[in-house]
Each structure stands twice: as C-alpha cells, then as structure tokens.
C-alpha cells in the first residue's frame, strides 16, 4: 500500500545505457505494466525498484522514502520471478513461510497468513509438497503466495506468466488481476506481451532502448499512440504503416500506387493539426480493424474516395475473423475482416480505409501528428 516514484533513474552497465532517465509516478494500489521488446530496460527498471540492481543516477521512492541505498529486504517489497525461483528443498508451506520466519513473526501468525494465502490461491492441498512435485501453474501460485504472505507495500512481477502454456496464461491473467484488486497492493508488472499489458494494467509504460515512450491507460495507448514504435508495438496484428504524401489542401493522401480521399468532415481537422505537413511526406498508420471490406459494408457507410483495390496475398482465418494480407504496388497492409469475407486468395478485393480513425506520423521523428 504505497506510492512508488522514479525520478530521472538511469542505469549504465559499463558504457551501455540500459535505462535512460526514467521518471514515473506510480499511484497507491495501481497496477502498472512495464512493456517493451527484450532489452528495452523494463526488467532492469524493476530490479532497481527491488534493489537487486544499483542505480547509476536518479532517485527511487517507495512510500515517500528514498530507497536508493536500502537493501532489498528492507524495502518492504515482494517479487515474483519468471522462473518462480521456489526454494527446491523446501515444501510449499516453508517456501511461503520463509520470509516471515526470517522476520521472526510468531508461529501462529505465519500459519494464519500462509493458510489464508493458500486458500486464496487454491493450493491448500499442496502445502506439504516440494516444488518439483508441482505443475507449472501450481508453482506459479506458490510464487504468488510467497509474495502475498509478506503483505508488502509493493508487488514486483517479472514476466510471471511467460512460462505457462497459453491457455493457463489467459486464465492466470484474469486471476492475477482480480487478486491485485482484492489485495489492493501497488503492483509493478513487467512483460513483453502487449496483450498482457493491455488486459491487466491500469496504466501501461511502453519502453524502448531504456527510454519511456508513453505512459497512459491501455485504451489511450491504443487509440492515441505517441509515436510509430508504440503504435506498432501495441495491438495485434500491428498497425499498418504506409508512406504517404499529404496534399496541399489536406484532401488527399497519395500512397504511391493509389490515392485516398480524406472525408470532407475531417479535412479542416487535418489542415489544422497537420498544417506543417501539407504537401509533404507523412507516415499513415491504419489499424487492421479499420480497413473494411466494401462487399460487407452498408452503402450509407461507404466513402467512395477512400476505397482501393488490393490483391489478397494471404488469407488467415482466425475463427470469428479473417486476416487479409493485401498488396498493391509498394503498399502492403493487413486487414481484419469478418469471417463472412468473400475475398479469395490471389484475387483482388475492394477495401475502404477508415481515415476518420487514421494516424499520421512524422517520417523523420516518428512522432504522432494526428
């Protein structure tokens, strides 16, 4: 039950800057997810908060106290590791009780807490077993239990679900989130999986090369990405990026092999927000779900200027929907359409780009324009 604050935190390993000037304000009871590709500094950031890694410069506060030089055991945190790191020679009970025993809690209190946590996690019947006798999911729960019994101010979780199989991961995702709500403990969660980040976090911190790219709630990150990296990282299949030229009058986007007309009610908005880009090159970003198959559309929704004819290269049925990999000259995009699609592999299909939901990025700085 605490706020965590990072103030210009930097970590260097020799000449390599792993974490570059990161500042974060994590609120009490918040579930915050650090997400990014491997090597982006998210785990290092977490380990610095845990005290397992020294800070090169900057400050970390937990509950208002500077903890830069406080050893991990005195930071009042608990951590869940990717490989669970259960003590192999101890029973599940002892694994969970270990931290409390070292802190000299009375036996009755240890017993009460371990049993309560075990019940919460549904592992009461496993307390006498050793870790090697448990399945992956059960080990995961024990690792969580070990963190819970400590009743710490902050939970730190380093990709705790990535060693589970896909089905269990989805199940644990929901459970973990529910658990965090119930316990109300500030949680910092590291993952490389954008789905986990989207579904679990109250807020998401997207990182790349040690630098924070964006900190926002999941929907904002999805709908208003700060830059090309965030736009491409969050969402699956990822956003389509197309090199385009914006016309002087903000009416047309020239994609090279074809042109798209910007809807008339959008033109003044574009002219205002992208006024420095009129007549210049931009990167057009369109999410796959914002490319519609014309054959499946109602006529009143159709905007003929934004329709293009593309060839279906690959068709991936996903059950309720189908991913179409479309190509036309230099333009290649993925569209996510309903399973009723009439598109056939190798044939052309008419699609409409929903430019009301488009993103424009600066081709040099890669920052969002719209």
């Amino acid at each position: 039950m605490a706020e965590v604050k990072l103030e210009n935190v930097t970590k260097k390993f020799g000449d390599v800057i792993a974490v570059n000037n990161v500042s974060l304000d994590i609120k009490d009871k918040e579930f915050i997810v650090l997400v990014g590709p491997s090597g982006c500094g998210k785990t290092t950031t977490l380990r610095m908060i845990a005290g397992l890694e020294e800070i090169t410069s900057g400050n970390i506060y937990i509950d208002g106290r500077i903890v830069n030089d406080v050893p991990p055991k005195d930071r009042d945190i608990a951590m869940v590791f990717q490989n669970y790191a259960l003590y192999p020679h101890m029973t599940v009970y002892d694994n969970m009780a270990f931290g409390l025993k070292l802190r000299k809690y009375p036996k009755s209190e240890i017993d009460r807490r371990v049993k309560a946590a075990a019940e919460m996690l549904g592992i009461e019947n496993l307390l006498k077993r050793k870790p090697k006798e448990l399945s992956g999911g059960q080990r995961q729960r024990v690792a969580l239990g070990r963190a819970i019994v400590r009743e710490p101010k902050v939970f730190l979780m380093d990709e705790p679900l990535s060693n589970l199989d896909a089905k269990l991961r989805v199940q644990m995702r929901a459970e973990l989130k529910k658990l965090q709500r119930t316990l109300g403990v500030t949680t910092i969660y590291v993952t490389h999986d954008q789905t986990e980040a989207m579904t679990m976090g109250d807020r998401i911190v997207v990182m790349k090369d040690g630098v924070v790219q964006q900190v926002d709630d999941p929907l904002t990150v999805y709908e208003k990405p700060n830059n090309v990296f965030v736009a491409g990282f969050i969402g699956s299949p990822p956003m389509n990026f197309i090199d385009a030229t914006l016309s002087e009058d903000a009416k047309i986007l020239d994609l090279g092999s074809f042109k798209l007309g910007i809807p008339s009610d959008m033109q003044s908005f574009v002219a205002e927000h992208a006024k420095n880009y009129l007549g210049k090159k931009v990167i057009l970003g369109v999410r796959p779900e914002h490319i519609y198959e014309v054959a499946l559309m109602k006529t009143e929704d159709l905007i003929p200027e934004a329709v293009a004819d593309l060839k279906v290269e690959v068709l991936e049925p996903m059950g309720t929907e189908v991913y179409l990999y479309l190509i036309n000259g230099p333009v290649s995009v993925v569209a996510r359409v309903s399973a009723e699609t009439r598109a056939r592999m190798g044939e052309n299909v008419k699609v409409m780009f929903d430019l009301r939901k488009m993103h424009l990025f600066d081709p040099v700085t890669q920052m969002a324009i719209i």
Binding site: A85, Y87, P88, L102, R146, R150
Partner: protein
C-alpha cells in the same frame, strides 16, 4: 551387427582381465603362507587359505621388528576425515562467493586458485616443510590435515563453482528479498541444495587424501604419525620382502577408497552429471 556386439564384449572382457591381473596376484599372494610365496608359483591359487598375513600386516610382529599398520590406518582415518570435510566446506564457500556474490577481481582470483592445481607438489616441498616447522605443525597429523586442505582448495572450488553456476541466481535474489543475508542464504538455500556436489567433492578428496604418499612421506617423518600409505612402503624389510604380508597390507590400504567407490560411486557419477543435466 551381432558379431560386432560379440567383438565388443570380447575386447571389453579381455581388457578387464588384463587390468585385473595385478589384483589377482595381490589377492592370491596375500592368502598364501610365506613358504608358499615364490615367483614360479605366483599365478597359482594358494594350497591352503591363510589369513595369517593379514593379521601380521595389521598387528605387526614385535619379535621380528615388524610394525603393524593398525596405528597408521587410524592415522589415515584421523587425517582423511577432517581434511575431507574441511576442504569440501572451503570449496563450497569459495564456489558460493565466486558465483553468487561476485566481487571485483573475482575473475582473477578464480584462475589463481585453479593455478594451484598445476603446481607440481615436488617443487614446493622444501618451503612447505619450513613453513610447517615455523608454525609448529611439522610431523603432526594436524600439519598433514592443513596441507591437504590447502591443496584441496583448487579442485573443490572448481567443482562447487561449476555446480553453483547452475543454481539460478533468481533463487538467491528471492532469498535476499525474503530477508536472508550473506550467511543466511548460504546456510538456508545454497547448502541444502549442494548435496550432489558435496558427494562428488568428498569422494574425490577422500580418495586422493587417503592415497597420498608424497606429503605423508615428507611432512610426517615420525612413524607414529605416518599415514598408512607411507607405513605400507616401510612394511617391506631392508633385506628381504615378505610378499604375502606386503600384499595383505596393500589390500588393507586400498580397502577404504575401494569401499567408498563401490558404495558411493553412483552418487559420484550422479553428482558429476547433475550439474550439466538438471540444475536445480
């Protein structure tokens, strides 16, 4: 295919017999009486089985000035047990620090420790004796223990370091967060999972300390503190050798390491493999 199999067995058995012939001679000679021992009949089985030579080798024969091995056997026991245990623990602690609490210069210290393995013992005998004389441990069992502990450090450190590098460092970090300190982590986490490595190291150290001859010879000139390997050598008289007693003595000397290997050998193999295959 079948023929190939047979050939393999044929050669394996052939080599096994070849390697076991000295043991055969050792065994049959030790069971013969002195009059029966002769170069011409060395391959023959004893006419009557006599354990007299074992008794003589163990107890000695004061009338003929023959020192028995019993006291030296116990010397070796008093030497090998503390030296094995202490050098194993030192290696374990070294391995723990070198893998889990890496300090600046660890990459220099470790090769330097290993370097100790490559120094021939013969080259350091004179300074060794001088040091032991200075610290008043020369010609004592504690002195021999000390020497074996020091010379055990490279190999025990190497084995433990390799074993501990398979223990995930998250385990140590989890214990740090749980509130354990340097000693606590060693005692409560590392030590309890070290048994396979301890098995390997202790078997190794037991055998090499028990079998050592050179240090025993040089560091313990006094017969009453000599280990059994040196005493065995002295069992042979100056003018003639009672081969049956000599062979019996050799068997007694070789027995403890043999027993250790027969009963603990599979732990030795398992320990050697456990690092590479399973980790923790």
């Amino acid at each position: 295919m079948k023929i190939g199999r047979l050939l393999i067995y044929f050669f394996l058995i052939l080599f096994a017999i070849f390697y076991l012939t000295p043991i055969y001679v050792l065994l049959v000679t030790s069971l013969k009486s002195f009059v029966e021992v002769d170069l011409k009949t060395m391959w023959r089985l004893p006419k009557t089985i006599s354990i007299e030579s074992f008794i003589q080798a163990w107890k000695g024969d004061p009338k003929r000035g023959l020192r028995g091995l019993s006291q030296n056997f116990m010397n070796s026991v008093y030497l090998v047990i503390p030296a094995t245990i202490l050098s194993a623990f030192l290696g374990s602690m070294n391995g723990y620090v070198l893998t889990k609490w890496r300090f600046k210069g660890a990459d220099i210290i470790f090769p330097m420790l290993l370097f100790g393995m490559f120094i021939p013992y013969q080259s350091i005998l004179i300074p060794l004796v001088q040091v032991l004389q200075k610290i008043k441990l020369y010609s004592t069992i504690p002195g021999l223990i000390f020497v074996h502990i020091v010379y055990g450090i490279p190999i025990t450190t190497l084995i433990f370091r390799n074993y501990y590098s398979t223990i995930p460092s998250e385990l140590i970090e989890a214990a740090k967060i749980d509130g354990a300190d340097f000693v606590g982590i060693y005692r409560r986490i590392v030590l309890p999972v070290s048994m396979p490595a301890f098995a390997v190291v202790m078997i190794w150290q037991f055998t090499s300390i028990w079998n050592d001859f050179l240090f025993g010879l040089v560091v313990a000139p006094n017969p009453s503190v000599q280990p059994i390997t040196v005493a065995l050598n002295n069992l042979a008289g100056s003018y003639f050798v009672q081969w049956n007693i000599q062979m019996a003595g050799a068997l007694i000397t070789a027995l403890p390491p043999l027993i250790v290997y027969i009963f603990l050998g599979r732990y030795f193999m398992r320990g050697l493999l456990s690092g590479s295959l399973s980790g923790v």
